[in-house]
Symmetry: C2
Subunit: 320 residues, 2 copies
């Protein structure tokens, strides 16, 4: 199974490689990143992973890579997936989500490479959601309200055009907020965990934690469940279809904070920072995963408590 994986240095790709390494199948993997490999291949033995450093905005380089490797599968994980970043750098967010994907699929079209493509989207695509519409199914309307969400909706529309108009083999996801050990602390849960672990480690430290709006409700799913879904979709997903990948349960950031404080057995003081409150943020996003359950038998296996414990333990290891 020849797989091209973009965003190979990222959080999701690293968990994907760890998962693939547990499978009996033989994989030939070409990983693409914007920087030098940030990991040691040996940790993913017996996987064979080749590596290419290219800018996915460079059409010519993308074409060469595809022509030489001729992937059977493309798992496109490269993305600048932070909503906060997208408000600060909307143009870069758009280009590094939508345009990099467009370059990839268009080169595959031009080179006529038979390749099954997984296009990763986001629950942010649903955007401004009326509470009466929850939980969100794949049929729910898309009302993106951040530059990142617009980029993801654009990518999904492009995927549909390439699937329906050019007959390409593309499957799409709307992946809800994934969490897990190793995630950068620009993402909220990882940021909370890092701060709380620091407080737990140093009894003399300030107990003040700065946050945005803690009433926000999201549907969190463990990255290790997400990568299993991606692998199943690559193998058995239906061409041209969109799949929610979610837990089906909404949890507020306050609940997550409370759980992590309880795990660490600490008390904290919360301070709201208005700079961390985004324009037009969605109050609640909760999905339904019935479609992927029905079509592929996928469901999340890792509980929220296990995710949070593992994230906390990961930050503890980073500090030591």
């Amino acid at each position: 199974m020849k797989i091209l994986i973009t965003g190979i240095n990222g959080f999701v790709a690293q968990h994907l490689l760890a998962f693939l390494a547990t499978l009996p199948e033989a994989f030939t993997i070409l990983g693409i990143g914007r920087s030098e490999p940030a990991f040691d291949n040996s940790q993913f033995a017996p996987l064979k992973i080749e590596y290419a450093k290219i800018d996915l905005l460079n059409r010519e380089h993308v074409g060469e890579i595809l022509q030489n490797f001729k992937p059977q599968y493309l798992l496109h994980l490269a993305s600048i997936s932070s909503v906060g970043h997208s408000w600060k750098n909307p143009n870069d967010s758009f280009v590094n989500n939508t345009n990099i994907f467009l370059n990839l699929v268009d080169q595959i079209r031009l080179l006529d490479i038979p390749c099954r493509i997984l296009s990763i989207g986001s629950s942010e695509e649903y955007g401004n959601v009326n509470p009466s519409q929850l939980p969100l199914t794949e049929e729910s309307p898309l009302n993106p309200i951040s530059p990142y969400a617009v980029a993801r909706v654009s990518q999904e529309m492009i995927s549909k055009i390439y699937a329906d108009g050019y007959g390409m083999d593309i499957i799409m996801t709307r992946s809800f907020n994934h969490i897990g050990p190793g995630q950068k602390n620009v993402f909220v849960i990882s940021s909370f965990a890092k701060q709380l672990v620091q407080i737990a480690n140093d009894p003399s430290a300030s107990k003040m934690v700065t946050t945005g709006d803690l009433s926000i409700i999201r549907d969190f799913v463990d990255v290790r469940d997400v990568v299993k879904a991606y692998y199943l979709l690559l193998q058995h997903g239906k061409k041209g279809e969109v799949y929610n990948i979610c837990s089906g349960t909404g949890v507020s950031l306050q609940q997550i904070m409370d759980k992590m404080c309880a795990f660490l057995n600490i008390n904290i003081t919360l301070q709201q920072d208005s700079n961390l409150i985004r324009p037009n943020d969605n109050k609640a996003i909760i999905g339904r995963a019935d479609k992927i359950k029905k079509d592929l038998g996928w469901y999340p296996e890792i509980s929220l408590d296990k995710s949070l414990t593992d994230i906390i333990n990961w930050w503890k290891q980073q500090g030591s």
Copy 2:
């Protein structure tokens, strides 16, 4: 009134300049094109038109132009607006619609220039329309089914983010198929007219006209009415709102062909070319212009018969 007009060499811009030249207001116009000016300024006297040749994909150049000119109004007409072209060059179509617009609005944001922006969209955004949904209002769902349409929906989503999220003064249109003298013959009505005029001019010529699917129904609006709508929207449109610009009447390509043959008093033979039939083309697109009529008092003044006669006469002049 300082107006920056992109796509200055294009069909719509040329009609816009002709219209502005008839008004009593004083205009300072900077026109941006990708190539050297394709027209003689004197024909638009008393308008003062400066010209800059730049690639709108070049962020730095776009920033410099905006910083130097500091437009009060931006009328963004630059576009590769052919659906057929977009199927052949989807990546170029996307970049030269969505990304050029994104570069412009993002530079205006970064430079904090107080500027009212008109973002031009297309009826193609409605895409796959159920006949029961006709005529289309601004509330109708968007189901784009061509690369061009996807690019325009992406542009509109970006406009909404910059208006709602960053508070910028942007108004959007969904402009239906515009026709009029001077349109390139990559567009269907102009292509028909050119072929029919050739037949009328040369009695010995073949009477065969090659077409795509003539049962397709579109809502045609004269470009001279469209540019009046753009000017009104720049002055009085409501920030963050989308406006249909259309006639409200659906006409089949067959009807247009019959009318033009009658005006020219010729009989022809039709031959369908499957290469001219696009994947997933919309069968019927008809709009409702109630919103722009209500908000701005705009309605189309030029009849379809006058448009077609003027287009025919324009092609007659080109041949002579």
